[in-house]
């Protein structure tokens, strides 16, 4: 199987270790990966802040870039939600018939990482080893946008040595919300405080998620407070084996 990796703009820039983990994980599972060097951003930041024209031009660019691709894997649920939930409306308003057709063809081939693993490859056990206490943070876009359901839990459940510790108020937002975190910084911080209380109660070593955006938010506060818990994208856990620890390689 050949997949094209859409790494997303902020993973590319801020969290390259997540991208490297996705590559290592998928290649271990026998997936052939390509990376389109022309890729940039899905348009989510502009769309969610109200810059519709800009979001549309990025959305158009994405569809034109990937329209002939067999399968696209994206290690970010919010970017997948952007493509699935917002592109159709943007194209209805600003696009043309041809673009709408390309989009409709493309959408069934766009996968968030955990969807790709469990639905397309059809594995829960990816052969990972991660002997740590971990709690899973459900990003809002993964939970309510993509309806990921039990997929992340199935994947984590098969990781050798991993002790999964459930968190209270799993469905409650961490307060990131893209530009919300700066436009409403104080309210965002209050939401983050509430999330940290729930996170710390788990006494986990790692907080994992399928979105580095939430993890950047939560991780930034953990670091500010000199707390030991570390944020880690789930791809990095799933890429870890007994031979390869994320700490040493990534």
């Amino acid at each position: 199987m050949r997949v094209s990796l859409f790494i997303t703009c902020y993973n590319d820039t801020l969290f390259p270790q997540t991208g490297r983990a996705v590559v290592r994980l998928l290649e271990r599972l026998g997936v052939d990966i390509e990376f389109h060097p022309a890729q940039t951003c899905c348009g989510q930041m502009h769309a969610n802040t109200g810059f519709r024209g800009e979001a549309y031009s990025q959305a158009k660019r994405f569809v034109q870039l990937y329209r002939d691709t067999e399968c696209i894997v994206i290690p970010s649920s919010s970017c997948v939600a952007m493509i699935r939930d917002q592109y159709p409306g943007l194209f209805d308003e600003l696009g043309n018939e041809e673009l709408r057709r390309h989009l409709a063809d493309l959408l069934p081939r766009v996968f968030e990482l955990s969807e790709f693993l469990t639905d397309k490859v059809g594995v829960d056990d990816v052969g990972a080893h991660f002997p740590h206490r971990v709690t899973y943070h459900a990003s809002c876009h993964g939970l309510r946008g993509l309806h990921l359901g039990d997929r992340p839990f199935r994947l984590l459940g098969k990781v050798r040595g991993l002790k999964l510790i459930p968190i209270e108020n799993l469905d409650r937002c961490c307060g990131f919300g893209g530009t919300f975190s700066v436009k409403n910084a104080e309210v965002s911080t209050a939401m983050l405080d509430a999330k940290l209380t729930d996170l710390l109660a788990t006494e986990a070593e790692y907080c994992t998620a399928l979105d580095n955006s939430c993890l950047m938010h939560v991780g930034g506060a953990l670091h500010r407070r000199n707390l030991q818990m570390k944020p880690i994208h789930m791809a990095e856990i799933l890429a870890s084996t007994e031979a390869v620890d994320p700490e040493s390689v990534l």
Partner: protein, 492 residues
């Protein structure tokens, strides 16, 4: 009035209005506790309903059908209500609605009027207008009474005094009712309110209500409540005035079967509201002799004309979106500066103000989608929020002062960078250099200037790594081609 500003035309923007509330630990505790309790009840009662999703779909379909045929149903309501002895008035905006109501009250020589909880009357700022005309408005809903006596404002659509706890209620009642010995148990507090209100019910001959639903088929009005105080207002006075937004109409009497079920479960976590009042016009010898309905547009027709925003008007004011909202949970209702708080307020208020006020409200959300998930009529609130944000940006980007606004400049630069991979690589390189100035030795950024300071208010930021993913990939590909040329397996 010393309470918070609840008029979107003069209220401060949401982020600013939220600041003092975030400092008010007691209020935030009250809000978190109350929303937890209501949500738990709601979740339990929704879970026991096997066909909840079908009910939701039906409720949504009924409301969408009404909006698609609003004129028909409103005219039918007018005909039926008039035939039953009611008088129907049409008000295009808040000022017209106020003047219609004041005219009726003057004709009645009213000096006092009793009121059932009505958000719509707050929307049209009715109480200040009554006061200016020398008419005392007496709120009879227990929560509204607490707020009126405490010089406070509603902070929730269904539970307006949700931010007040019972010790605070006791203090207000003791002071305003002259009961220094009043204990703070719920029985004593409600008994005090009952004694206070009974006198009003028995002496004031004019009442104002809102409406939960108007029934086109029969010309009836429906009101649900928990206390029976509303029932008093609907039955005892000589004259009753009902103020209702034009979107409140339902086609058939039988539609109540669906809507009363989803409303009670979503709003208060009950199978059915304790008091369901339904009446049609006037009946000699039973209830009010004169009955007026004021149908209020006030921006609703404009909302109706917009494809995405139209769904805002499906709302049945259950407030489930407030109870589940993580933003509302932190700020309560007052930060929204409008009678309509929470996610639904964030989309309704600026639209009722023709996008001239309340423009900060569509941004008062992290777009987490919890509101959409619980909405019993399936209003896709995040979708509407994003649409309204686009309208705000379209308004603002024309203003010269936005050309130097860091947010607008940042968005412009980012858009240029995202338009081509070479520009994006350049932006990454420049960003890394620029941020290096702010990156500490351990690789973390703790303090940023300008907009960035809003982030570093409470969060550190990892400094940009030396190698982007695409650089790594390019190197690897080059390496693997070299390996292949030398006849070796590519390194994994």
């Amino acid at each position: 009035m010393s309470g918070p500003v609840m008029d979107p035309r003069i209220a401060p923007p949401f982020p600013e209005a939220a600041l003092p509330i975030l400092q008010n630990t007691q209020l935030r505790k009250n809000v978190a506790h109350a929303t937890d309790v209501i949500q738990a009840k709601r979740n339990r009662l929704v879970a026991e309903k096997q066909d909840w999703q079908q009910l939701r779909s039906s409720a949504s379909a009924i409301r969408a059908h009404v909006l698609a045929n609003l004129t028909t149903y409103l005219e039918q309501f007018e005909t039926k209500c008039t035939a039953a002895g009611g008088v129907v008035h049409w008000a295009k905006d808040a000022a017209e609605a106020r003047s219609i109501i004041l005219d009726i009250l003057r004709e009645e020589n009213a000096t006092e009027v009793i009121k059932i909880k009505t958000m719509t009357s707050a929307e049209i700022q009715l109480n200040p207008a009554l006061e200016a005309a020398g008419i005392a408005a007496i709120e009879t809903d227990l929560a509204e009474l607490i707020l009126q006596l405490g010089d406070d404002e509603p902070s929730h659509i269904v539970v307006p005094a949700l931010h007040v706890n019972r010790r605070q209620v006791r203090e207000i009642f003791a002071r305003r009712m002259g009961l220094p010995e009043l204990p703070d148990d719920p029985e004593a507090l409600t008994a005090a309110a009952r004694t206070y209100l009974r006198k009003k019910f028995l002496s004031v001959p004019t009442a104002i209500s809102g409406a939960n639903f108007l029934i086109a088929e029969t010309g009836s009005v429906a009101i649900v409540e928990s206390e029976g105080n509303g029932r008093m207002c609907l039955t005892l006075p000589r004259t009753l005035i009902t103020l209702a937004g034009i979107e409140k109409v339902l086609p058939r009497f039988s539609d109540l079967e669906v809507l009363l079920q989803v409303l009670a479960r979503s709003a208060t976590g009950e199978r059915l509201n304790p008091y369901n009042s339904l009446w049609s016009g006037v009946v000699p010898g039973d209830g009010p002799e004169r009955f007026h309905v004021v149908l209020l547009d006030n921006g609703r027709s404009e909302i109706l004309s917009r494809k995405v925003e139209r769904q805002t008007l499906k709302c049945i004011r259950c407030a489930a979106c407030l109870n589940t909202c993580p933003v509302y949970r932190q700020t309560g209702g007052h930060a929204y500066g409008s009678p309509y708080a929470g996610p639904i307020g964030a989309i309704l208020t600026p639209q009722l103000e023709h996008m001239q006020h309340g423009q900060s409200l569509p941004y008062a959300s992290s777009l987490c989608g919890a509101c959409y998930e619980v909405c019993p009529v399936k209003i896709n609130i995040p979708e509407v929020l994003i649409d309204l944000r686009a309208r705000v940006v379209d308004q603002e980007r024309a203003q010269p002062r936005r050309w130097t606004d860091p947010m607008y400049m940042g968005m412009k630069v980012a858009n240029l960078a995202f338009a081509s991979a070479s520009r994006f690589r350049l932006a990454q390189a420049m960003g890394r250099l620029g941020l290096r100035l702010f990156t500490d030795k351990d690789g973390w950024i703790r303090k940023l200037p300008n907009l960035g300071a809003r982030w570093t208010l409470s969060r550190d930021l990892p400094g940009l790594p030396n190698q982007t993913f695409r650089q790594w990939w390019t190197e690897r590909e080059a390496g693997s081609i070299g390996e292949r040329l030398r006849g070796k397996e590519a390194p994994r």
